[in-house]
């Protein structure tokens, strides 16, 4: 299958494109990934902390819109959290969190974080979205 049927992307990067983990001291939402034409999505969240606590959520939207081919934002959309099989949490310890979405029938998807104890931790989110069979 062609590589064009999958998207593998590190979501938090610096201006130069180098990975730049996001602080867990405040709430945030990750960059949006449009998955309209893709079948399976998985997030890998690498948590590095010894004192931060909080929760992650996967949010989806169908009215999020980007213009093609520039991918510039047209509509920020309305977002709601998916009901996962559990609540991914940060428990003041390093962790790797995997979230698998099987055939999400949504246009766009993102990860959100809500801190409980800010701490000094960071997290890096990597998404793989692919078409079935690729």
């Amino acid at each position: 299958m062609s590589a064009k049927n999958s998207t593998l992307k590190t979501l938090f990067t610096s201006a130069t494109g180098a990975p730049a983990p996001k602080s867990l001291a405040t709430a945030w939402t990750s960059p949006v990934t449009v998955i309209r034409n893709l079948d399976d999505v998985s997030y890998q969240i690498n948590v590095t902390t010894s004192n931060s606590t909080g929760t992650f959520a996967v949010e989806v939207s169908n009215d999020y819109k980007e213009s093609s081919p520039t991918d510039s934002l047209v509509a920020s959309g309305t977002w709601s959290a998916l009901n996962l099989s559990g609540t991914p949490t940060v428990a003041a310890a390093n962790d790797v969190i995997n979230i698998t979405l099987t055939s999400p029938p949504f246009n766009a998807v993102r990860v959100s974080y809500t801190p409980t104890v800010p701490g000094t931790g960071t997290a890096q989110v990597t998404i793989l979205a692919r078409r079935a069979g690729s």
């Binding site: 009901n83 559990g86 962790d95 790797v96 979230i99």
Partner: protein
Amino acid sequence: MSQSYIWPAQVAVAPIGGATAANQVLEIADLDAIKASTASIDTKTRTLDVTPATQNITVQDTGSTTTPVANGQNYVTGTPTAGSAATFNFTNYATVKVQVTGTWTGTLISEKTIDGITWLTQGIHQSGTPIIVASFTANFSGGAGVAACTGYRIRATGAMTGTANVKVVESASLNTVYIGNAVTVTDGANTSNKLTIKPASTAPLATDPSVVVAISPNSPTLPVSGSVTVTQATGTNLHTVVDSSALPTGAATSALQTSGNASLTTIAANTPAVGQALMAASTPVVIASNQSAVPVSGTVTSNQGTANATPWNENISQIGGTPVLAGNGLTGAGSLRVTIASDTASNSNAFLIKQGGKASANAPVRNDYTSVSVSTAAYTTLVASLTSAVTELEIFDSSGQTLVLATGAAASEVNQVIVFPGGNGRIPLAIAAGVRVSIKALSATANVGEIDLNFYG
């Protein structure tokens, strides 16, 4: 750590009795808890007994400090002197078996610790004995309970010579089980009845609970002290049999009693009846050669024997305890008074009476009235003190006056005889030796003539 989540969060319809994710989560949590709590058990199941290396003790510990605490317990703290203790640290073991060998002298103490800092005395049950002690002066072997402890040691508390080799085996198995609290034995039907144990010196009370016991028929003979009262219920149920072996040496026997009775019968037959009897019916007796005087009361009649045939010829030397005077001689206490019978016939023989002369008893006295007159007012001493007793006086007086002769001390004169004018001649007058003799005029003062006295004894 890692977390995995899926979407959609499928709720599988499990078959009846089938496993579910929720149950698996719970099971996983339980298994994790069991795993955590059985980690040490797992270790123990692999190694029940541990035998650390033998340690030697050669010196006395002078580095530890002993502090008395509650109820006679002592806390031992500090670092023991090097070579004075064999210390074994461990966790999760219940028993320590210890064996001390070697050639040594001194005192070794068994101790355990909960925190590795404070050590407590721990008694050792010596194997094969009922003895549980913590202090030893010779080699020993036994076991001690060390559950909940973190260490065990043997420590020398006295001066040491030689080397004590201490070998220890740490085990998870239990040693001797100790019952720490007093054991109470109660009546199963009434638990308020409890067995009372008292020292033998404490008298039992009527209120003390009693234990019903049965004396084994195999019990040895039980000695009984004090007084025992035996009651004969019937006339034939109590018999006493004493054989010869039970009698002490010299005890009375039936045979001896029979012999004794025979002797008593003979004595009775030969003993006369009480009272006076004829000689033939009397028991002969012999007066002891040293018989003390036997007082005789009443009238004693003594016969001369054949009348007049053998007159008493006993010589009588005393009458009334006074020697009898016999023969010629002066009269005295032993002289017998004789009364001439009133019908004594006259004696035609010449009866000679020798009249002895009177001896001079004192020096004669002459007083010249012209030199020493004698008045009627006072006595004049003639003799201050007679040298001998006088029985007769011879008096001549030429004063022509009547005087009185007196005896006695001055101012205590006692008149004896009146001296006639011219004198009295010889007159009987007894005067004792040492007496004063004096005269006093009665008619008028005698101042002429003289008075002369002769004294006769």
